[in-house]
């Protein structure tokens, strides 16, 4: 941007301009009514949309809690599980993946026992 352009530009205080130009009172009554009606219609539809989003969010919240309870049950029952769930929330969506309940802890115990046995055999064999 050249210096001349820079000089011709000035910082706009949005409040000033809006008071000057975005002032419905300066417009003819029919235009005012048209814009006000449009605003009211938009406000109603946006409000309804917001309400629906809140409901969706609450439903997703409940579904998530139920899924976590289910996972807890699986864990209590010593099961290996991998749970993948999608939830549609009010502001978007959530994908959850939980893996757990692995009973592999027995493997190192077995290995240690195996090692001890093998070690004993080896020692006896060497003697």
């Amino acid at each position: 941007m050249s210096n001349e352009d820079q000089k011709s530009l000035r910082r706009i205080n949005p409040q000033d301009l809006q008071n000057q130009l975005v002032n419905l009172e300066g417009l003819p009554p029919e235009k005012q009514l048209e814009i006000k009606t449009k605003m009211a219609e938009s406000a109603v539809s946006l409000q309804a949309d917001l309400g629906q989003r809140v409901i969706k969010s609450r439903t997703a919240e409940h579904d998530m809690a139920v899924t976590m309870d289910h996972i807890k049950d699986l864990d209590h029952n010593k099961k290996i599980y991998s749970v993948n769930q999608n939830f549609e929330t009010g502001a978007g969506n959530v994908k959850i993946s939980v893996k757990g309940g692995d009973v592999n802890f027995i493997i190192p115990v077995l290995i240690v026992i195996g090692l001890i046995i093998l070690g004993l055999v080896l020692i006896l064999n060497l003697k």
């Binding site: 419905l24 814009i35 917001l50 997703a60 978007g92 939980v98």
Partner: protein
């Protein structure tokens, strides 16, 4: 021998490129404006018809006028189609006999296209969040230099002053939107940071700015919080403010934007609540459980994607221990086999063969343990950051 060589017409190479949103809106605007003019032509009042007829006569001569008079009712009823030349003449003439509000209606058809232009012109693939204000300043300058050209049959009915005012109004609306978008994106990132900073997991965030259709690489939110944006725009003159139709366009769009801003704040609150719920569920998982969640939420100024990964460190450590135990067992077995082979003739070959197999297994086990160690190390490093970048 043939004197004619078979020639193949060289086909033009079509490089297929899908239309951008702005291009689609441009073609929609043109179609709407054309349909509006044609439908107006079919429903001209007697006074308008007379006015259009006299313009048509003066512009295209007697014979064209006679043809117009003869064919008008057939055109009106759709019995006879219009030629390209006639359509162009109608597009040139009908807007002149329209009422002022109808002429401004033609302008309004182009607003969605003009207001979507920054999405194409200022768009970038990825911008680092530390350069957010620089990116917005550049976008502001692009908007100031942007041309908002109307189709010839629309611009013909407006004075240069009116078109210039219209363009200034568009720039004003766009720059206000840009300013709002910057402030929204900034607030979104700060809110996301505050919501996710206490999460004991690997959190990565990607954010797409709606207004400029650009991906933000979010790493340092403190740098974003320090940034500010100062925009300048050419002021509207008091004469411009007297133009009722243009003022109503400005009032209409500015008030609608303000309304949408309040709505977006509500949606943002829902988004933050959704993220908190996901985090709350993650916190109740056990240490032995592994968690992965991908949350996509619509915030004030864009769409955020949050990935939270929690690996089970005890499980990984157990895996490493298991690998080492297996390795130890293998080495012991090999030593035992060597001892056994020394007392049995001809068993050396079997031991060497088994040794090679065992070595392969040993390497695989060591690699698996090493990968787990690296995974734990990387996870701990990423966990220490609020937003880890990929």
């Amino acid at each position: 021998m043939s004197y004619y060589r078979r020639r193949y017409r060289r086909r033009p190479r079509w490089d297929y490129r899908p239309l951008t949103q702005s291009e689609q809106l441009q073609s929609e605007a043109r179609k709407k404006a054309t349909d509006f003019v044609i439908s107006k032509f079919r429903s001209l009042t007697p006074t308008e018809f007379q006015s259009f007829g006299s313009w048509y006569y003066s512009k295209h001569g007697r014979s064209a006028y006679d043809y117009f008079l003869k064919t008008y009712w057939s055109w009106k009823q759709g019995v006879v189609g219009m030629s390209g030349q006639t359509s162009a003449r109608i597009l040139a003439g009908v807007p002149r006999v329209m009422s002022r509000s109808e002429q401004f209606q033609l302008l309004r058809f182009y607003l969605p296209y003009f207001l979507s232009k920054p999405r194409d012109k200022c768009k970038r693939d990825t911008v680092d969040s530390t350069q957010l204000s620089e990116f917005y300043v550049n976008a502001g300058q692009t908007i100031l230099g942007m041309a908002f050209d109307l189709d010839w049959f629309v611009s013909a009915v407006f004075s240069e002053q009116e078109i210039s005012t219209f363009q200034t109004i568009i720039r004003y609306i766009l720059l206000r939107r840009l300013e709002t978008s910057f402030s929204d994106v900034r607030k979104d990132l700060i809110d996301l940071h505050n919501t996710l900073r206490t999460v004991e997991a690997d959190v990565s965030v990607s954010y797409r700015v709606n207004f400029l259709d650009t991906e933000l690489s979010v790493s340092d939110v403190h740098a974003v919080a320090k940034q500010s944006l100062v925009l300048t725009l050419p002021p509207l003159s008091p004469e411009d403010a007297n133009q009722t139709e243009l003022r109503s366009i400005l009032a209409d769009y500015t008030l609608t934007d303000r309304l949408k801003y309040h709505f977006a704040s509500g949606v943002h609150a829902i988004a933050i609540n959704d993220i908190q719920q996901v985090i709350a569920q993650m916190k109740v998982t056990r240490k032995t459980e592994e968690w992965e969640s991908d949350t996509t939420v619509e915030c004030r100024g864009g769409i955020a994607q949050i990935r939270v990964v929690k690996i089970s460190v005890p499980k990984q450590k157990l895996h490493i221990a298991t690998c080492y135990c297996k390795m130890g067992l293998l080495i012991l077995a090999f030593l035992f086999a060597v001892r056994w082979a020394s007392t049995h003739r001809g068993a050396g070959g079997i031991v060497v063969f088994g040794g090679f197999l065992g070595l392969g297994w040993l390497i695989a086990l060591w690699q698996s343990a090493h990968e787990s160690r690296i995974a734990i190390k990387t996870y701990e490093q990423r966990r220490s950051k609020v937003f880890a970048t990929n």
